[in-house]
Symmetry: C2
Subunit: 321 residues, 2 copies
Amino acid sequence: MKCRKCGGKAAINMRQHKLSLCREHYLEWLPEQTQRFIEKYRMFSPQARLLVAVSGGKDSLGLWDVLSRLGYQADGLYIGLGIDGGLAYSSESQRLAERFAAGRGLRLTVVDVAALEGATIPEAAARTQRGKDKPCSVCGLTKRHVMNRAALDGGYDVLVTGHNLDDEAAVLLGNTLTWATGYRARQGPVLEATHPGLVRKAKPFCRFYERETAAYALLRGIEYIYDECPHAVGAKSIYYKEVLNQMEAERPGLKLSFYLSFLEAKERGLIAAQSDPAAAGLHPCTTCGQPTSAPGQCAYCRTWERVRSQAVRTLEGGQPV
Amino acid sequence: MKCRKCGGKAAINMRQHKLSLCREHYLEWLPEQTQRFIEKYRMFSPQARLLVAVSGGKDSLGLWDVLSRLGYQADGLYIGLGIDGGLAYSSESQRLAERFAAGRGLRLTVVDVAALEGATIPEAAARTQRGKDKPCSVCGLTKRHVMNRAALDGGYDVLVTGHNLDDEAAVLLGNTLTWATGYRARQGPVLEATHPGLVRKAKPFCRFYERETAAYALLRGIEYIYDECPHAVGAKSIYYKEVLNQMEAERPGLKLSFYLSFLEAKERGLIAAQSDPAAAGLHPCTTCGQPTSAPGQCAYCRTWERVRSQAVRTLEGGQPV
């Protein structure tokens, strides 16, 4: 395989694009494509203040690297979830995120959930209904809340996440198999701020295959955490990714055309949005003030209040948490 | 495994329904369910004159058996396609269809495509662009045309086909992966006659898994053709069935919930129909008079005219067809 641009030895062959590139030209190509997607989907202007949600993985660190190289004002946000899973998952990913930022002189905000709310994610999950099977529900809820608040408090214009095509296609497949049309109607490269208290969100990597973002991080020499979150094992999203990978192996480009034809159908108004749960009237949470569709308190405040009350009850009962 | 109704030895265990039944109760259950679906989706009344499209396979013969037992006036239509494929596919399936009808005193109409149009399906495919890779396109076109004409000419109220859940879910998945929203909007247990020259269509088996219809035919002692059409090998629909079977193995009931949640979303108006190609203005074909959206001749007449002209040209050139 030869690089299409210079004829040198190819570092990556992208079957779905019928394109092979050497290391040097791949490291040029991916940022160029990212810039193209930012413009095509009107994600943000060159002047926008961006907050990049950074997990320590290849996607978010790769994205932060690319946005900085493209000249955007992009700060980072790391959320400490307190997940160990036998591999010091959170502390290791935090170390890598901090090292990345320090090495490039980038600004990283760290929010530690245990310091903020009095318990780690696994502790919270163990104390609530929401975490009966897995902590993923309370984790997702918490990350969404903290990211939104950090972006608003910091005066950022857009919250940027590293979701890649594999992530997006898996969510789309899951929502499609259950015809969760409301959620589907909101899926896309940009999630508009439909309410003053909600930050605008964008996913500049949404058209890159996971292997493309992984190749970028590797070829760029970014040190990132290889492990998936230990709680993600058996998650539906991973299962849907496997199904899509199988289909992709059989029909190269399927994942991309699945996602793009969805966006096109949505663009043409063919993906109905009637039942969008977020379209219901939002009002400020009585505790934190963030917009919520639930009456009174938002799900975040309600959940974490329950976590704290459970801690007290458990201590009173003298039982270990 | 025991039969839930009588405690006897179960002949089938349906994980997705959490239901095991013995032979006798299964042979009661499937027709009862069929009747329930006929009513639920308002397919046809007890007085309707039905034409069942019969291929000689388990689904269509099983369906004809069930409809007759339920007391419906159901005649059969067999279309001779002239497919051999090394296993005398068409002649064997015709023999089984005729034998089924004769044994039960049912009325079967046989339309032979070669007698009607001067060439078998494989011959036609070899002579046209439509059959360059596979004869499936010209075959589908021909069957739809012949079925519609036979139903209209015979004064039938509804054309009934044996599509099962696996068929429907595979088509749905295929249309979903490409977001072919127009086609999807028309998919369902009933296809209304949207135009005077089009017959109403219904699929009473659309909620049965393929293994359920196969079990019915086996337990009822119906002799049917086991082979798939030899041209179906490698077809996308078969591929999508495999993907769905894998997902079903992991999550029993997925196929059914995929299909039912789709129907529900459609019912609630969430599956947009704007781009339905059939919604475009129909007019009578200048040759056969059947409704078509193409200008002038319909695709059926155009294709078969080309097939015949190719035969003449080939003979003139002195080359074998």
